[in-house]
């Protein structure tokens, strides 16, 4: 890790990981939300699922973004 810190590559790596995680969670979230909203028989369950998934994903990505910004 030290050589990464010394070379200044770590912030860049964190940005790449952050963007990859953001793209993955948004993509997967879209696919899952489509399934929940289209196929669930209970009208409340998909809404709760979408909100829960988005809230946790948003919280994690916010933390990661905060770290990347500080490190950058």
């Amino acid at each position: 890790m030290d050589f990464l810190l010394d070379s200044g590559e770590l912030p860049m790596l964190l940005w790449v990981v952050f963007f990859a995680a953001a793209v993955l969670s948004i993509g997967l979230g879209s696919v899952l939300s489509f399934h929940w909203l289209r196929y669930a028989m209970n009208p409340i369950a998909p809404i709760v699922a979408v909100i829960s998934f988005a809230a946790v994903a948003f919280a994690c990505l916010s933390v990661m973004f905060g770290v990347v910004t500080i490190a950058g």
């Binding site: 890790m1 770590l10 964190l14 990981v17 995680a21 993955l24 969670s25 997967l28 979230g29 696919v31 899952l32 399934h35 929940w36 289209r38 196929y39 669930a40 028989m41 369950a45 699922a49 998934f53 946790v56 994903a57 994690c60 990505l61 933390v63 990661m64 770290v67 990347v68 500080i70 490190a71």
Partner: protein, 401 residues
Amino acid sequence: MDTIHIEEGEHIILTVRKHWLILLRDSLGTLVVAVAPFVLFGMVSFAGFVPVVELANPYVVFATALWILLIWMTLAIIWTNYYLDIWILTDRRIFIIEQVGLFDRRVSTWGLERIQQITVEHQNVVEFMFGYGTLTVQTAGLSDHDLSTPGIPRPERVRTKILHQIGTIGRLEAMTKKQSEMIKTISHEAKGYLARDAAALAEIVEQPEGVPANVKKLAGSALGETRRGVSELMGILSGDAQQGEMTMERIRFDLVDTVRDAVELARPLAEAKGLALTVHAPSSLMFDGDPAKLRDVVIKNLIENAIHYTEKGSVTVSVSAHDGARISIADTGIGLSEDDRVKLFSEGGRGESARALNPHSTGFGLHIAKSIVEAHGGRIAALSDGRGKGSTFVVELPTLA
């Protein structure tokens, strides 16, 4: 096919999702993997092998957030696969929906009438304790395979519901068969009486002399009615409308000739009431369909109805080409209220004054006529400006491809 289509009149009886323990079992691996790094990290730090890293270290926070996000996404996929796997029992079919991964969704449908045997199995002590098991449905037919679904909660209850529903279908089928046989027996008996009446009336009508004119006229009218009754009973005896199965002929014929035939069949009835019965039609209009059913069950029926419900004035039959054909039967009779128009084409539906003016009406004629028109891909409608203002029945028949 990835969605289910519940038919009109079909009711959902039971919706079953796999036991919650299945979700827990599937998630357990992910949860163990999720907490493993934290436990390991805590253990090695506690043992003093590595220095305790500050919790506020931004890189540890980043890695932790990333780890939680990945675990969260995995759990979401597992939950989706669990939540969208579902069994639906309706009063006619069983739907089995399986969500396999993110993009593969399989829907199988099984008619209850094909089910021969249902077995329930608890494969281990956990299943027995938590009250879930494997439900296996064996079906008839060479191409079918047994359907075995594990993880069904309270499978005995599901089996009982399915068996109960199969029993209900069997009872209904037997009852319908019995009713159909009874209708045919009664119709056959009644047809015999009506045929003898028709013969007697024909004898009176055809007498060259010795029968007063008014009696002859009355007998002629009664003969027309009796023949109509015989024809309707013949329709019942041939199966058709009562069984919900309509065998339709499809031949090319001249619709104008068919309409004129129907008019001529109804003319004695109009003359007996002193009504003018006129036809406006082109010389010819070719059409594909069942001429006998259109003539006897639709057009003649509508014309005779118009005559029955018209005390004075006229009945006018018009035929025109209109994206196929358009037949209208307009009368100067009692007219229709809004309520009449709504219930007119339903089974047994009749207008407010229908019973008084036409006590012999069964109320099924227009319903059957509507079925015939719809079987030709057309539509039938009743128009009226209100009570006492006459009515017009319109039949639109499209050109069949």
